[in-house]
């Protein structure tokens, strides 16, 4: 899923300081799962903003709404009525949701309340970690199911570097060395021969080096 974290309240306050009627829009997908921008977080942000504005002696009108999916035009249409009554939209979705709102409601300022972080998985309750960098040409099949691009601090395709120690990456004891993980998994799979096959320099075009990426599925287009 896509993970995100709320921006500091002060930054959000700054960004909405010139508006009187603010529509706060959450999303029921990824950002709900990572507890950053679901219905609950929309409520907390609304309450926090309301108090901050009251305190500043500049009360505002806050409307809360959480969409099924903010990156999908079909759901975003639902907002039309609420948007009419707002001076600005504060989106609590990932960057894709923010942009979808901006595309659909062209004449309304749309502001991000979250910092979108990465594609990751839950490591344990309350902890999410990066897993995939969306490189467009997946190599997990030869790296034991562990991504060297998203999980090696130097993106090494032929690691490990000389800084790997005790299973940890040289940058921090908090970070596992991806290549240690890859090696351990290849051993468990009885596939250590894969390690010595050098991986060629990567073509970064599918990773975005070829410009903004799209997927077109003819069977689904109208």
């Amino acid at each position: 899923m896509i993970t995100a974290e709320r921006k500091p309240l002060e930054e959000i306050l700054q960004s909405v300081s010139s508006f009187d009627r603010i529509l706060i829009v959450g999303c029921n997908e990824c950002v709900t799962v990572c507890a950053a921008g679901g219905r609950k977080e929309v409520g907390l942000l609304a309450s926090a903003l309301n108090m901050s504005m009251l305190k500043a002696g500049r009360p505002v009108q806050l409307t809360e709404h959480t969409l099924e999916r903010q990156c999908d035009p079909e759901y975003v249409d639902e907002l039309a009525q609420l948007v009419t009554g707002a001076d600005a939209i504060l989106s609590m979705a990932c960057g894709c949701g923010v942009q979808e709102l901006a595309r659909r409601y062209r004449d309304k300022p749309v502001l991000p309340a979250l910092n979108t972080k990465f594609m990751g998985a839950a490591e344990r309750p309350g902890v999410w970690a990066e897993r995939c960098a969306g490189c467009g040409n997946c190599v997990l099949g030869v790296t034991g199911g562990i991504c060297p691009i998203a999980r090696c601090s130097k993106r090494l395709m032929n690691g490990p570097c000389g800084g790997s120690g005790n299973g940890k990456c040289e940058i921090s004891d908090e970070v596992d060395c991806a290549w240690q993980l890859i090696w351990d998994r290849l051993k468990a799979l009885g596939k250590t021969d894969l390690y010595e096959q050098n991986m060629d320099a990567k073509d970064w075009r599918p990773a975005g080096g070829g410009g903004p990426r799209r997927i077109v599925r003819e069977d689904l287009t109208e």
């Binding site: 500091p8 309240l9 907390l44 309450s47 108090m51 002696g57 009360p59």
Partner: protein
């Protein structure tokens, strides 16, 4: 912040777990142990069920202090609800800090059902503390707005 106004009693909302804190509060009442009447008790099934939003909304509606009261560690009827409550209280305290409402206005209290006197004492203490802090900036702002409208 305005100087504490002695004639004004602070409003304190206490979310009390049904299995312990609520019973303790009840007992304190039955034993006529004195605890301030400005402490508004809200009975909840478990301290762990008190959502961050409940705590925040209490402040938003003008509470000067909020108490979340649950069972002693290891005694939670739902095993770890009180530990979750501890984490949520800490989360809301961080948020209060960001908003500029003193995080010390929110407290966690762990008591057992038989500790009526402890509950009464804690209620008196938090009342005293909040009284010293004065009204919350939010309750002040609400009052000011009401005045302007009147």
């Amino acid at each position: 912040m305005a100087a504490p106004t002695p004639e004004l009693e602070p409003v304190i909302v206490a979310f009390c777990c049904h299995y312990c804190a609520y019973t303790a509060a009840d007992q304190a009442g039955a034993q006529r142990l004195e605890y301030p009447s400005n402490v508004k008790i809200v009975r909840v099934p478990c301290s762990g069920k008190v959502d961050a939003l409940h705590m925040l909304r209490a402040f938003e509606r003008g509470a000067d202090g909020v108490l979340v009261a649950g069972c002693l560690e290891g005694d939670c009827h739902f095993s770890t609800g009180n530990l979750r409550a501890r984490k949520k209280v800490a989360q809301v305290q961080r948020l209060l800090e960001e908003i500029g409402v003193g995080p010390e206005r929110l407290e966690l209290l762990l008591v057992s059902a038989g500790m009526g006197s402890n509950f009464a004492r804690a209620a008196r203490e938090i009342t005293q503390k909040i009284r010293a802090l004065g009204p919350s900036p939010i309750s002040e702002a609400i009052a000011a707005r009401a005045m302007n409208r009147a």
